[in-house]
Protein backbone atom coordinates (compact mmCIF):
# COMPACT_ATOMS: atom_id res chain seq x y z
CA UNK A 1 0.00 0.00 0.00
CA UNK A 2 2.81 2.44 0.87
CA UNK A 3 4.45 1.80 -2.50
CA UNK A 4 1.23 2.25 -4.45
CA UNK A 5 0.46 5.47 -2.58
CA UNK A 6 3.99 6.78 -3.17
CA UNK A 7 3.66 6.25 -6.92
CA UNK A 8 0.54 8.43 -6.98
CA UNK A 9 2.62 11.47 -6.05
CA UNK A 10 4.11 13.71 -8.72
CA UNK A 11 7.45 15.43 -8.17
CA UNK A 12 7.09 19.00 -6.95
CA UNK A 13 3.58 18.61 -5.58
CA UNK A 14 2.50 20.12 -2.28
CA UNK A 15 1.14 17.34 -0.10
CA UNK A 16 -0.83 17.56 3.13
CA UNK A 17 0.50 14.59 5.06
CA UNK A 18 -1.10 12.54 7.79
CA UNK A 19 0.69 10.24 10.17
CA UNK A 20 1.32 6.53 9.55
CA UNK A 21 1.20 5.05 6.07
CA UNK A 22 0.73 8.37 4.20
CA UNK A 23 3.84 9.71 5.88
CA UNK A 24 5.77 6.59 4.84
CA UNK A 25 4.48 6.90 1.30
CA UNK A 26 5.51 10.54 1.02
CA UNK A 27 8.98 9.92 2.35
CA UNK A 28 9.36 6.94 0.03
CA UNK A 29 8.34 9.13 -2.92
CA UNK A 30 10.83 11.82 -1.84
CA UNK A 31 13.63 9.28 -1.89
CA UNK A 32 12.69 7.78 -5.24
CA UNK A 33 10.89 9.59 -8.07
CA UNK A 34 9.74 12.81 -6.32
CA UNK A 35 12.66 14.47 -4.48
CA UNK A 36 10.96 17.89 -4.63
CA UNK A 37 7.73 16.92 -2.95
CA UNK A 38 6.77 19.55 -0.37
CA UNK A 39 5.32 17.95 2.75
CA UNK A 40 2.98 20.04 4.90
CA UNK A 41 1.73 18.74 8.23
CA UNK A 42 -1.41 20.16 9.79
CA UNK A 43 0.68 21.01 12.86
CA UNK A 44 2.34 23.79 10.85
CA UNK A 45 5.62 22.23 9.66
CA UNK A 46 6.26 22.96 5.97
CA UNK A 47 8.94 21.22 3.92
CA UNK A 48 9.81 18.83 6.73
CA UNK A 49 12.53 16.20 6.20
CA UNK A 50 12.13 14.20 9.42
CA UNK A 51 15.25 12.38 10.57
CA UNK A 52 13.10 9.73 12.26
CA UNK A 53 9.66 8.30 11.59
CA UNK A 54 7.24 10.66 13.37
CA UNK A 55 4.80 8.99 15.77
CA UNK A 56 2.58 12.07 15.88
CA UNK A 57 1.74 14.76 13.41
CA UNK A 58 3.40 17.23 15.78
CA UNK A 59 6.67 15.37 16.27
CA UNK A 60 9.65 17.67 17.01
CA UNK A 61 11.58 15.94 14.21
CA UNK A 62 9.16 17.55 11.74
CA UNK A 63 10.24 21.00 12.94
CA UNK A 64 14.01 20.67 13.10
CA UNK A 65 15.36 21.44 9.65
CA UNK A 66 12.00 22.23 8.06
CA UNK A 67 11.60 25.15 5.65
CA UNK A 68 8.89 26.97 7.58
CA UNK A 69 6.85 26.66 10.72
CA UNK A 70 3.58 28.54 10.85
CA UNK A 71 0.61 28.71 13.18
CA UNK A 72 -2.44 26.60 12.53
CA UNK A 73 -4.51 29.60 11.45
CA UNK A 74 -2.07 29.94 8.54
CA UNK A 75 -2.19 26.20 7.80
CA UNK A 76 -5.94 26.30 7.36
CA UNK A 77 -6.48 29.79 5.94
CA UNK A 78 -3.35 30.44 3.87
CA UNK A 79 -2.44 26.95 2.68
CA UNK A 80 -5.58 24.82 2.67
CA UNK A 81 -8.42 27.30 2.06
CA UNK A 82 -6.14 29.25 -0.27
CA UNK A 83 -5.98 26.18 -2.52
CA UNK A 84 -2.22 25.61 -2.23
CA UNK A 85 -2.54 21.92 -1.32
CA UNK A 86 -2.41 19.63 -4.33
CA UNK A 87 -2.75 16.26 -2.61
CA UNK A 88 -4.37 15.37 0.70
CA UNK A 89 -4.23 11.95 2.35
CA UNK A 90 -7.18 10.69 4.38
CA UNK A 91 -8.12 7.49 6.15
CA UNK A 92 -11.32 6.60 7.92
CA UNK A 93 -13.35 4.11 9.93
CA UNK A 94 -15.83 4.04 7.04
CA UNK A 95 -15.57 4.89 3.33
CA UNK A 96 -18.77 4.63 1.34
CA UNK A 97 -19.82 4.06 -2.29
CA UNK A 98 -19.49 7.80 -3.06
CA UNK A 99 -16.08 8.11 -1.42
CA UNK A 100 -17.50 9.87 1.63
CA UNK A 101 -15.57 9.28 4.84
CA UNK A 102 -16.68 8.81 8.43
CA UNK A 103 -14.29 9.41 11.31
CA UNK A 104 -16.91 10.61 13.80
CA UNK A 105 -19.24 7.90 15.14
CA UNK A 106 -20.45 4.35 14.47
CA UNK A 107 -24.18 4.32 15.07
CA UNK A 108 -26.18 7.47 15.71
CA UNK A 109 -24.50 10.75 16.61
CA UNK A 110 -26.58 11.19 19.74
CA UNK A 111 -26.11 7.64 21.08
CA UNK A 112 -23.03 6.25 19.32
CA UNK A 113 -22.05 2.59 19.46
CA UNK A 114 -18.44 3.68 19.02
CA UNK A 115 -17.26 7.22 19.49
CA UNK A 116 -14.43 7.86 17.00
CA UNK A 117 -11.97 10.79 17.25
CA UNK A 118 -13.92 13.14 14.95
CA UNK A 119 -12.94 15.28 11.99
CA UNK A 120 -9.67 16.84 13.01
CA UNK A 121 -8.69 18.51 9.76
CA UNK A 122 -10.36 15.86 7.59
CA UNK A 123 -13.49 17.86 6.69
CA UNK A 124 -11.53 20.80 5.29
CA UNK A 125 -8.83 18.66 3.71
CA UNK A 126 -11.55 16.82 1.75
CA UNK A 127 -13.10 20.13 0.71
CA UNK A 128 -9.93 22.06 -0.21
CA UNK A 129 -7.16 19.72 -1.34
CA UNK A 130 -7.20 19.43 -5.12
CA UNK A 131 -6.91 15.63 -5.05
CA UNK A 132 -7.68 13.25 -2.18
CA UNK A 133 -6.02 9.87 -1.74
CA UNK A 134 -7.63 7.51 0.74
CA UNK A 135 -5.63 4.68 2.29
CA UNK A 136 -7.68 1.91 3.99
CA UNK A 137 -7.81 -1.86 4.32
CA UNK A 138 -10.75 -3.62 2.69
CA UNK A 139 -13.57 -5.00 4.85
CA UNK A 140 -17.35 -4.74 4.51
CA UNK A 141 -17.52 -2.89 7.84
CA UNK A 142 -15.09 -0.27 6.56
CA UNK A 143 -16.66 0.03 3.08
CA UNK A 144 -20.46 0.25 3.63
CA UNK A 145 -22.98 1.45 1.06
CA UNK A 146 -23.41 4.62 3.08
CA UNK A 147 -21.40 6.06 6.01
CA UNK A 148 -23.14 6.36 9.40
CA UNK A 149 -21.91 9.96 9.64
CA UNK A 150 -20.51 12.04 6.81
CA UNK A 151 -17.34 13.70 8.15
CA UNK A 152 -15.52 14.35 4.85
CA UNK A 153 -17.31 14.59 1.50
CA UNK A 154 -16.07 12.39 -1.35
CA UNK A 155 -16.17 14.86 -4.27
CA UNK A 156 -12.42 15.30 -4.55
CA UNK A 157 -11.43 11.70 -3.91
CA UNK A 158 -9.15 10.54 -6.73
CA UNK A 159 -8.22 7.07 -5.55
CA UNK A 160 -8.74 4.68 -2.68
CA UNK A 161 -5.64 2.61 -2.08
CA UNK A 162 -6.46 -0.65 -0.33
CA UNK A 163 -4.58 -3.82 0.55
CA UNK A 164 -6.06 -5.70 -2.44
CA UNK A 165 -6.46 -3.12 -5.18
CA UNK A 166 -7.14 0.50 -6.05
CA UNK A 167 -10.60 2.03 -6.41
CA UNK A 168 -11.20 5.20 -8.42
CA UNK A 169 -14.05 7.65 -8.30
CA UNK A 170 -16.07 7.56 -11.52
CA UNK A 171 -16.31 11.24 -12.46
CA UNK A 172 -19.76 10.69 -14.00
CA UNK A 173 -21.57 8.86 -11.22
CA UNK A 174 -19.30 9.73 -8.31
CA UNK A 175 -19.18 6.06 -7.43
CA UNK A 176 -16.04 4.20 -6.39
CA UNK A 177 -15.13 1.56 -8.98
CA UNK A 178 -12.34 -1.00 -9.08
CA UNK A 179 -9.47 0.26 -11.20
CA UNK A 180 -6.43 -1.89 -10.44
CA UNK A 181 -5.46 -5.11 -8.67
CA UNK A 182 -2.35 -6.29 -6.88
CA UNK A 183 -0.72 -9.36 -8.44
CA UNK A 184 -2.56 -12.56 -7.52
CA UNK A 185 -5.76 -10.82 -6.37
CA UNK A 186 -9.11 -11.53 -8.05
CA UNK A 187 -12.06 -9.16 -8.47
CA UNK A 188 -14.07 -11.35 -6.10
CA UNK A 189 -11.46 -10.83 -3.35
CA UNK A 190 -12.02 -7.09 -3.55
CA UNK A 191 -15.83 -7.46 -3.77
CA UNK A 192 -15.69 -9.50 -0.55
CA UNK A 193 -14.36 -6.43 1.25
CA UNK A 194 -16.87 -3.91 -0.14
CA UNK A 195 -20.48 -3.53 0.99
CA UNK A 196 -22.01 -2.61 -2.36
CA UNK A 197 -22.05 -4.25 -5.80
CA UNK A 198 -18.68 -3.08 -7.05
CA UNK A 199 -18.29 -2.09 -10.68
CA UNK A 200 -14.91 -2.69 -12.29
CA UNK A 201 -13.12 -0.86 -15.09
CA UNK A 202 -12.34 -2.85 -18.19
CA UNK A 203 -9.57 -3.56 -18.62
CA UNK A 204 -8.31 -3.54 -15.04
CA UNK A 205 -4.85 -2.17 -14.44
CA UNK A 206 -2.25 -4.34 -12.79
CA UNK A 207 -0.30 -2.87 -9.86
CA UNK A 208 3.42 -3.50 -10.05
CA UNK A 209 4.87 -5.09 -6.91
CA UNK A 210 7.36 -3.02 -4.90
CA UNK A 211 10.85 -2.92 -6.37
CA UNK A 212 13.85 -4.10 -4.39
CA UNK A 213 14.87 -0.50 -3.84
CA UNK A 214 11.45 0.48 -2.57
CA UNK A 215 11.31 -2.46 -0.19
CA UNK A 216 14.78 -1.78 1.06
CA UNK A 217 14.01 1.90 1.71
CA UNK A 218 10.80 1.06 3.52
CA UNK A 219 12.21 -1.73 5.65
CA UNK A 220 15.73 -0.56 6.37
CA UNK A 221 15.54 3.23 6.25
CA UNK A 222 12.03 4.55 6.70
CA UNK A 223 10.41 2.13 9.12
CA UNK A 224 13.09 -0.16 10.53
CA UNK A 225 11.07 -0.69 13.74
CA UNK A 226 7.99 -1.75 11.71
CA UNK A 227 5.79 0.88 13.29
CA UNK A 228 3.55 1.09 10.25
CA UNK A 229 4.68 -1.73 7.95
CA UNK A 230 2.93 -4.91 8.92
CA UNK A 231 4.06 -7.30 6.21
Amino acid sequence: MATVAARELVDGEVVFVGIGLPNLACNLARRTHAPNLVLIYESGAVGATPSRLPVSIGDPALVTGSLMVCGMADVFQLFLQNGRIEVGFLGGAQVDRQGNINTTVIGSYEKPTVRLPGSGGAAEIAIHAQRILIVAKLSPRVFPERVDFLTSPGQRVAKVITDKGVLERDPRTGELVLAALYPGVAVADVQAGVGWPLRANAPLARLEPPTTIELQLLRDVLDPKRLYLKS
Partner: protein
Protein backbone atom coordinates in the same frame (compact mmCIF):
# COMPACT_ATOMS: atom_id res chain seq x y z
CA UNK B 1 1.41 26.93 39.94
CA UNK B 2 -0.72 26.27 42.98
CA UNK B 3 -1.37 29.96 43.54
CA UNK B 4 -1.98 30.73 39.87
CA UNK B 5 -4.58 27.95 39.53
CA UNK B 6 -6.18 28.82 42.88
CA UNK B 7 -6.49 32.45 41.88
CA UNK B 8 -7.34 32.20 38.18
CA UNK B 9 -9.22 28.92 37.53
CA UNK B 10 -12.70 28.72 39.04
CA UNK B 11 -15.43 26.07 39.18
CA UNK B 12 -17.66 26.33 36.12
CA UNK B 13 -15.06 28.18 34.02
CA UNK B 14 -14.50 27.75 30.31
CA UNK B 15 -10.89 26.52 30.35
CA UNK B 16 -8.43 26.16 27.49
CA UNK B 17 -5.08 24.40 27.80
CA UNK B 18 -3.73 24.79 24.26
CA UNK B 19 -0.69 23.47 22.40
CA UNK B 20 -0.87 21.21 19.33
CA UNK B 21 1.17 18.15 20.37
CA UNK B 22 3.89 20.63 21.41
CA UNK B 23 3.87 22.56 24.72
CA UNK B 24 0.78 21.10 26.39
CA UNK B 25 0.75 22.16 30.03
CA UNK B 26 0.26 18.87 31.84
CA UNK B 27 1.56 20.58 34.98
CA UNK B 28 -1.42 22.96 34.95
CA UNK B 29 -3.89 20.16 34.19
CA UNK B 30 -2.59 18.15 37.12
CA UNK B 31 -2.82 21.11 39.45
CA UNK B 32 -6.44 21.70 38.38
CA UNK B 33 -7.17 18.03 39.17
CA UNK B 34 -5.48 18.34 42.57
CA UNK B 35 -7.49 21.44 43.41
CA UNK B 36 -10.63 19.46 42.43
CA UNK B 37 -12.12 22.05 40.10
CA UNK B 38 -15.57 21.00 38.93
CA UNK B 39 -18.05 21.69 36.11
CA UNK B 40 -15.41 23.01 33.74
CA UNK B 41 -16.07 23.43 30.04
CA UNK B 42 -12.82 22.15 28.58
CA UNK B 43 -11.90 23.38 25.09
CA UNK B 44 -9.01 22.19 22.92
CA UNK B 45 -8.57 21.07 19.33
CA UNK B 46 -7.18 17.73 20.52
CA UNK B 47 -8.26 16.81 24.07
CA UNK B 48 -5.16 14.62 24.25
CA UNK B 49 -4.13 12.73 27.38
CA UNK B 50 -4.42 15.80 29.58
CA UNK B 51 -8.19 16.20 29.08
CA UNK B 52 -8.62 12.41 29.24
CA UNK B 53 -7.10 12.66 32.73
CA UNK B 54 -9.18 15.69 33.70
CA UNK B 55 -12.37 13.97 32.46
CA UNK B 56 -11.46 10.85 34.45
CA UNK B 57 -10.84 13.01 37.52
CA UNK B 58 -14.31 14.52 37.27
CA UNK B 59 -13.32 18.11 36.43
CA UNK B 60 -15.29 18.37 33.18
CA UNK B 61 -18.94 19.08 32.53
CA UNK B 62 -18.53 19.67 28.82
CA UNK B 63 -15.90 19.18 26.12
CA UNK B 64 -15.47 21.40 23.05
CA UNK B 65 -13.08 19.83 20.56
CA UNK B 66 -12.25 18.75 17.02
CA UNK B 67 -10.20 15.51 17.30
CA UNK B 68 -10.36 13.30 20.36
CA UNK B 69 -7.84 10.53 19.99
CA UNK B 70 -4.41 9.46 21.19
CA UNK B 71 -2.34 10.55 18.15
CA UNK B 72 -0.82 7.60 16.31
CA UNK B 73 -1.90 5.26 19.11
CA UNK B 74 -5.65 4.89 19.52
CA UNK B 75 -8.44 6.09 21.76
CA UNK B 76 -8.87 8.27 24.81
CA UNK B 77 -10.92 5.83 26.84
CA UNK B 78 -12.00 8.09 29.71
CA UNK B 79 -13.39 10.44 27.07
CA UNK B 80 -15.07 7.56 25.24
CA UNK B 81 -16.61 6.11 28.38
CA UNK B 82 -17.97 9.54 29.34
CA UNK B 83 -19.45 10.20 25.89
CA UNK B 84 -20.77 6.71 25.22
CA UNK B 85 -22.51 6.70 28.62
CA UNK B 86 -23.90 10.19 28.05
CA UNK B 87 -22.15 11.71 31.08
CA UNK B 88 -20.16 14.32 29.19
CA UNK B 89 -21.73 17.02 27.07
CA UNK B 90 -19.84 17.61 23.82
CA UNK B 91 -19.67 20.36 21.20
CA UNK B 92 -17.77 19.30 18.13
CA UNK B 93 -16.07 21.14 15.25
CA UNK B 94 -13.31 20.36 12.78
CA UNK B 95 -9.78 21.67 13.43
CA UNK B 96 -10.37 24.63 11.11
CA UNK B 97 -13.64 25.34 12.92
CA UNK B 98 -11.90 25.40 16.30
CA UNK B 99 -9.06 27.55 14.95
CA UNK B 100 -11.66 29.93 13.50
CA UNK B 101 -13.46 30.13 16.85
CA UNK B 102 -10.19 31.21 18.50
CA UNK B 103 -9.49 33.68 15.67
CA UNK B 104 -12.89 35.32 16.19
CA UNK B 105 -12.37 35.35 19.95
CA UNK B 106 -8.92 36.92 19.61
CA UNK B 107 -10.18 39.60 17.22
CA UNK B 108 -13.25 40.16 19.44
CA UNK B 109 -15.62 39.55 16.58
CA UNK B 110 -18.76 37.52 17.32
CA UNK B 111 -18.11 35.06 14.48
CA UNK B 112 -15.56 33.91 11.89
CA UNK B 113 -16.15 33.03 8.26
CA UNK B 114 -14.72 29.96 6.56
CA UNK B 115 -15.26 27.83 3.49
CA UNK B 116 -16.06 24.51 5.09
CA UNK B 117 -18.72 21.91 6.01
CA UNK B 118 -20.52 21.82 2.64
CA UNK B 119 -21.75 18.26 2.21
CA UNK B 120 -20.77 17.14 5.71
CA UNK B 121 -23.01 16.10 8.62
CA UNK B 122 -21.17 18.38 11.05
CA UNK B 123 -23.66 21.30 10.98
CA UNK B 124 -26.43 18.79 11.72
CA UNK B 125 -24.49 17.52 14.75
CA UNK B 126 -23.65 21.05 15.88
CA UNK B 127 -26.25 23.76 15.26
CA UNK B 128 -23.74 26.46 16.25
CA UNK B 129 -22.17 25.99 12.82
CA UNK B 130 -24.17 28.48 10.75
CA UNK B 131 -23.71 30.49 7.58
CA UNK B 132 -23.54 34.03 6.26
CA UNK B 133 -24.11 35.54 2.82
CA UNK B 134 -21.22 37.47 1.25
CA UNK B 135 -22.30 41.08 0.66
CA UNK B 136 -20.22 41.19 -2.55
CA UNK B 137 -20.71 37.86 -4.31
CA UNK B 138 -23.89 36.52 -2.72
CA UNK B 139 -22.12 33.26 -1.85
CA UNK B 140 -23.09 31.40 1.28
CA UNK B 141 -20.15 30.69 3.59
CA UNK B 142 -19.88 28.76 6.85
CA UNK B 143 -19.50 30.53 10.19
CA UNK B 144 -18.54 29.51 13.70
CA UNK B 145 -19.12 31.55 16.86
CA UNK B 146 -16.25 33.22 18.74
CA UNK B 147 -14.67 31.31 21.61
CA UNK B 148 -13.68 33.56 24.51
CA UNK B 149 -12.47 31.37 27.38
CA UNK B 150 -12.46 32.46 31.00
CA UNK B 151 -8.91 31.22 31.30
CA UNK B 152 -6.29 29.98 28.84
CA UNK B 153 -3.13 28.18 29.92
CA UNK B 154 -0.17 27.86 27.57
CA UNK B 155 3.26 26.38 28.07
CA UNK B 156 6.23 28.13 26.43
CA UNK B 157 9.98 27.94 26.27
CA UNK B 158 10.63 31.27 27.95
CA UNK B 159 9.12 34.50 29.22
CA UNK B 160 10.21 37.51 31.24
CA UNK B 161 8.68 38.33 34.61
CA UNK B 162 6.06 40.58 33.00
CA UNK B 163 4.83 37.75 30.75
CA UNK B 164 6.36 38.61 27.39
CA UNK B 165 6.48 35.07 26.04
CA UNK B 166 8.65 33.54 23.32
CA UNK B 167 7.97 30.29 21.51
CA UNK B 168 9.65 28.43 18.67
CA UNK B 169 8.80 25.19 16.96
CA UNK B 170 5.10 24.44 16.47
CA UNK B 171 2.89 27.39 17.37
CA UNK B 172 -0.58 25.82 17.26
CA UNK B 173 -3.29 28.35 18.19
CA UNK B 174 -1.72 29.58 21.41
CA UNK B 175 -1.49 33.22 20.35
CA UNK B 176 -5.13 33.31 19.32
CA UNK B 177 -6.31 31.48 22.45
CA UNK B 178 -4.38 33.85 24.70
CA UNK B 179 -5.75 37.00 23.03
CA UNK B 180 -9.27 35.52 23.14
CA UNK B 181 -9.16 34.82 26.85
CA UNK B 182 -10.29 36.77 29.89
CA UNK B 183 -7.31 35.50 31.93
CA UNK B 184 -4.05 33.90 30.75
CA UNK B 185 -1.53 31.74 32.61
CA UNK B 186 1.83 31.28 30.90
CA UNK B 187 3.92 28.36 32.15
CA UNK B 188 7.56 28.41 31.08
CA UNK B 189 10.64 26.26 31.03
CA UNK B 190 12.78 29.29 31.85
CA UNK B 191 12.21 32.73 33.27
CA UNK B 192 14.55 35.08 31.44
CA UNK B 193 15.65 38.66 31.80
CA UNK B 194 13.69 41.19 29.77
CA UNK B 195 16.89 41.79 27.79
CA UNK B 196 16.70 38.26 26.35
CA UNK B 197 13.20 38.99 25.05
CA UNK B 198 14.27 42.37 23.72
CA UNK B 199 17.24 40.86 21.89
CA UNK B 200 14.88 39.01 19.50
CA UNK B 201 11.46 40.70 19.51
CA UNK B 202 10.18 38.81 16.43
CA UNK B 203 10.09 35.62 18.55
CA UNK B 204 7.57 37.03 21.02
CA UNK B 205 4.24 35.26 20.56
CA UNK B 206 2.25 36.58 23.52
CA UNK B 207 2.79 40.04 25.05
CA UNK B 208 2.67 40.83 28.76
CA UNK B 209 -0.45 42.95 28.17
CA UNK B 210 -2.60 39.80 27.95
CA UNK B 211 -0.86 37.68 30.61
CA UNK B 212 -2.30 37.33 34.14
CA UNK B 213 0.40 35.10 35.67
CA UNK B 214 3.78 33.61 34.76
CA UNK B 215 4.61 30.25 36.33
CA UNK B 216 8.08 28.69 36.05
CA UNK B 217 7.75 24.93 35.75
CA UNK B 218 10.61 23.08 34.03
CA UNK B 219 9.41 19.85 32.40
CA UNK B 220 5.87 21.16 32.89
CA UNK B 221 4.78 19.89 29.47
CA UNK B 222 5.82 16.24 29.91
CA UNK B 223 4.69 13.83 28.32
CA UNK B 224 4.19 16.53 25.65
CA UNK B 225 7.41 18.30 24.72
CA UNK B 226 9.26 21.58 24.49
CA UNK B 227 11.40 22.04 21.38
CA UNK B 228 15.00 22.58 22.42
CA UNK B 229 14.34 21.38 25.99
CA UNK B 230 12.99 17.81 25.87
CA UNK B 231 11.51 15.32 23.45
CA UNK B 232 7.95 14.04 23.37
CA UNK B 233 7.55 10.95 25.56
CA UNK B 234 6.10 8.73 22.87
CA UNK B 235 6.44 5.68 25.14
CA UNK B 236 4.13 7.32 27.64
CA UNK B 237 1.56 8.08 24.91
CA UNK B 238 1.71 4.46 23.74
CA UNK B 239 1.43 3.23 27.32
CA UNK B 240 -1.61 5.43 27.99
CA UNK B 241 -3.74 3.11 25.83
CA UNK B 242 -3.62 0.39 28.49
CA UNK B 243 -3.94 2.76 31.47
CA UNK B 244 -6.85 4.67 29.98
CA UNK B 245 -8.71 1.50 28.99
CA UNK B 246 -9.24 0.39 32.60
CA UNK B 247 -10.91 2.68 35.09
CA UNK B 248 -8.92 1.24 37.98
CA UNK B 249 -5.58 1.61 36.25
CA UNK B 250 -6.43 5.19 35.41
CA UNK B 251 -7.44 5.86 39.02
CA UNK B 252 -4.16 4.33 40.19
CA UNK B 253 -2.25 6.53 37.76
CA UNK B 254 -3.95 9.67 39.06
CA UNK B 255 -3.39 8.59 42.67
CA UNK B 256 0.29 8.09 42.14
CA UNK B 257 1.31 10.81 39.68
CA UNK B 258 -1.25 13.55 40.26
CA UNK B 259 -2.80 13.36 43.74
CA UNK B 260 0.34 11.65 45.06
CA UNK B 261 2.60 14.63 44.40
CA UNK B 262 2.37 18.26 45.45
CA UNK B 263 4.41 19.82 42.68
CA UNK B 264 5.88 19.18 39.27
CA UNK B 265 9.31 18.86 40.89
CA UNK B 266 8.00 15.92 42.93
CA UNK B 267 6.50 14.43 39.76
CA UNK B 268 9.94 14.54 38.16
CA UNK B 269 11.63 13.12 41.25
CA UNK B 270 9.35 10.08 41.05
CA UNK B 271 10.71 9.39 37.56
CA UNK B 272 14.44 9.91 37.95
CA UNK B 273 15.44 8.56 34.53
CA UNK B 274 12.91 10.64 32.58
CA UNK B 275 15.09 13.71 32.14
CA UNK B 276 18.05 11.71 30.93
CA UNK B 277 15.92 9.79 28.41
CA UNK B 278 14.18 12.83 26.95
CA UNK B 279 16.56 15.78 27.29
CA UNK B 280 16.96 17.54 23.92
CA UNK B 281 20.06 17.44 21.80
CA UNK B 282 21.54 20.68 20.52
CA UNK B 283 20.77 22.21 17.17
CA UNK B 284 21.09 25.96 17.54
CA UNK B 285 19.97 28.54 15.02
CA UNK B 286 22.23 31.46 14.20
CA UNK B 287 21.37 34.94 15.38
CA UNK B 288 20.23 37.67 13.01
CA UNK B 289 21.21 41.33 13.01
CA UNK B 290 18.67 43.73 14.50
CA UNK B 291 21.03 46.68 14.09
CA UNK B 292 20.32 49.78 11.98
Amino acid sequence: MRDAVARLVRDGDVVVIEGFTHLISFAAGHEIIRQRRRDLTLCRLTPDLIYDQMIAAGCAKKLVFSWAGNPGVGSLFAFRRAVESGQLEIEEYSHFGMVARFLAGAARLPFWTLRDYTGTDLPRANPRIKSVTCPYTGEELATVPALNPDVTIVHAQRADAQGNTQVWGLLGVQKEAAFASERVIVVVEELVDERVIRSDPNRTLIPAAVVSAVVVEPWGAHPSYAQGYYDRDNDFYVGWEAISKERTQLADYLDEFVYGVQTRAEYMQKQPRLAERLRAGEQFSTGVNYGF
